[in-house]
């Protein structure tokens, strides 16, 4: 929970956004986040983001699913309740493969969705500050964290990179539960303090 000051730039097109990202990073500013209406290929590289570890998590979930399926079926049909199905062995591996496969996919899929939500802080009820109402609609929004000294200078720099609108916002940088009127809460806090 931390209230911070941000310089916000709204762009009209990804063709403007890309050079802007390069210029901003080249000038040494640290980009807080970029919001786009669609997945822009190559933006992660341009932002210098490191590769996600999500797929390693996916592999671990998948292996867990494989082991669960084989272990559970193996235990049932060899130890707990052995039965004879058409003269097949008690541990008929080929017959277990489809279920093992399905459980691998299920564990990997559900696990990865939950991990994805956790990493991106997405959940029903979780709210985040919206810098621009059109940020995931048809505008590309770049947000840079600033302090009181360099705010106006950063804003001017962003304006020069081709942004169609810029502003300075004071906002919650983390997520919170509940309502969207965090800004009013902040003002009330300020008045109380």
């Amino acid at each position: 929970m931390s209230i911070k000051k941000f310089a916000v730039a709204v762009y009209d097109d990804e063709a403007v956004l890309f050079p802007a990202v390069k210029k901003v990073r080249g000038a040494g500013y640290k980009i807080h986040d970029v919001f786009t209406p669609f997945a822009v290929h190559g933006l992660d590289e341009a932002l210098g983001e490191k590769e996600s570890d999500l797929h390693i998590a996916g592999f671990i979930y998948g292996i867990t699913g494989t082991c669960t399926a084989l272990g559970f079926m193996g235990w049932i049909f060899t130890t707990d309740w052995p039965q004879n199905f058409g003269g097949k062995p008690n541990f008929p591996l080929p017959a277990f493969i489809p279920i093992t496969f399905e459980l691998t996919v299920l564990f990997a899929a559900v696990g990865m969705v939950l991990t994805f939500c956790y990493l991106n802080q997405i959940m029903p009820g979780v709210k985040k500050h919206i810098f621009d109402p059109r940020q995931t609609d048809d505008k590309f929004v770049m947000v840079i964290e600033v302090n009181d000294q360099n705010a106006s200078e950063t804003e001017a720099f962003l304006k020069a990179t081709g942004a169609e609108a810029t502003n300075i916002q004071v906002a919650e940088s983390d997520w919170w539960f509940g309502r969207f009127d965090k800004k009013e809460d902040y003002e009330i806090q300020q008045q109380l303090a």
């Binding site: 290929h41 190559g42 590289e45 590769e51 797929h55 592999f59 058409g86 003269g87 097949k88 080929p94 017959a95 493969i97 489809p98």
Partner: protein
């Protein structure tokens, strides 16, 4: 950068001629020492090896025509950067088609070959589809369908290449040839579905043991040939990049071919297992005979090699993203896949033709060398005929900035 002319390196030329020479010498030696010997098993070995290798190398080359058509229909941009390689491989399909045609026609129309069991005069299928199956497995239908298929494949391969080269001399921004290519691709997919994806593997390979049948067989053969075809394209791309050509092909494109090799290895396993499990579970003697000799008989080693080389190795090695972008690792896996699927075709053909007298000896290796030499020679020669980067292709910019 955009109009590189390929010159065949002297080393590649020598290698291809040497391999081709080994192949021809082996073929002649095989004629003398196997076919003329009067020994039934030696003759069967001669025909079975020729059948298996010619079909295998024809189908993996045909996979190039398929990937070209499929990506043209999907309007994919990524393949355009190295499009000339599948085109060149596709445009030599007619040579391999002639070889397959000659071998198949000789096997079917010569009296003493014991490859296809339905050629045996005493053959009489005892099932409700008697008439239809007798028609399907008759010399006349076999000849008609084989020749029609081979000519269509060869013609489409040459045509797609011709159209792509024609695009080079079109005015800039013209999409006339592009749409023509789109239509021909749709035509090829139709032909492909009726031939390779259904009837042809039944006719050429499955009918070796005409009592046994599986509806999965053609799909399984298709998956096998397609994943090997993608591996062959990968090897050509990396070879040309190593020689300093194809600068616009980046790690992103290599990653995409790597994804195809990874995904279709799993697809192959899926089809292989679907065929295996139904037969294993139903346990009907007339079906299990196919796996009896492969799982528990003399072909046990190929059965396990098949699973290890074609499923376990690609899935484990290619799963991490950095491995699909590492040129050494993908080269290694491409070779593993090609060897693995050669073994897959080997164990499709051999058990019912030469039985327990299988060899992987001078004849098999020599014939493989011959086909590799032939493909190296023809494809490298074809690559010199046009610029390595398709000029004026509508997706050229898209392919240069492609990110996988």
């Amino acid at each position: 950068m955009l109009n590189q002319e390929f010159k065949v390196p002297a080393k590649l030329k020598t290698t291809s001629f040497a391999l081709l020479g080994i192949g021809i010498v082996t073929l002649l030696a095989g004629l003398v020492f196997l076919l003329m010997k009067g020994d039934q098993m030696a003759q069967n070995r001669f025909w079975a090896v020729l059948l298996q290798n010619s079909i295998f190398f024809l189908l993996i080359s045909l996979a190039s025509v398929f990937i070209l058509s499929a990506t043209s229909l999907a309007q994919a941009g990524w393949i355009v950067s190295f499009r000339r390689i599948p085109e060149s491989i596709g445009s030599i399909v007619w040579v391999l088609a002639i070889i397959v045609g000659v071998i198949l026609m000789t096997i079917v129309w010569t009296n003493n070959t014991h490859i296809y069991s339905w050629l045996d005069p005493s053959y009489n299928p005892k099932n409700s589809l008697n008439g239809l199956k007798n028609f399907f497995l008759s010399k006349n239908f076999f000849t008609f369908w084989t020749i029609l298929t081979l000519s269509l494949w060869g013609w489409f391969g040459v045509k797609l290449r011709e159209l792509s080269v024609k695009q080079d001399s079109e005015p800039k921004g013209s999409t006339k040839v592009y749409w023509l290519n789109f239509n021909f691709s749709a035509g090829f997919i139709f032909v492909f579905a009726l031939t390779l994806a259904s009837t042809i593997p039944w006719l050429w390979i499955m009918s070796i043991d005409s009592h046994w049948f599986s509806t999965m067989f053609s799909w399984y053969t298709f998956a096998s040939s397609f994943v090997s075809g993608m591996s062959m394209i990968m090897l050509w791309v990396l070879y040309l990049k190593r020689q300093g050509y194809l600068e616009i092909v980046s790690t992103e494109h290599v990653h995409d071919i790597g994804k195809f090799m990874f995904a279709f290895s799993i697809f192959w396993t899926y089809l292989w297992f679907s065929q295996f499990m139904l037969i294993w579970y139903a346990n009907i003697p007339e079906e299990t005979v196919y796996f009896q000799i492969r799982m528990h008989g003399p072909y046990r080693i190929f059965y396990w090699l098949n699973i290890i080389l074609n499923f376990v190795a690609p899935i484990l090695i290619l799963m991490p993203r950095p491995n699909k972008r590492n040129y050494f690792v993908v080269t290694l896996v491409a070779i593993i896949i090609l060897v693995g699927h050669w073994i897959d075709f080997y164990q499709m053909v051999m058990p019912t033709t030469v039985g327990e007298n299988w060899h992987i000896g001078w004849f098999e290796i020599g014939i493989v060398c011959g086909f590799i030499g032939l493909i190296l020679f023809l494809v490298s020669n074809k690559l010199t005929k046009a610029p390595l980067v398709p000029q004026n292709h509508p997706f050229l910019k898209e392919t240069v900035i492609h990110i996988s």
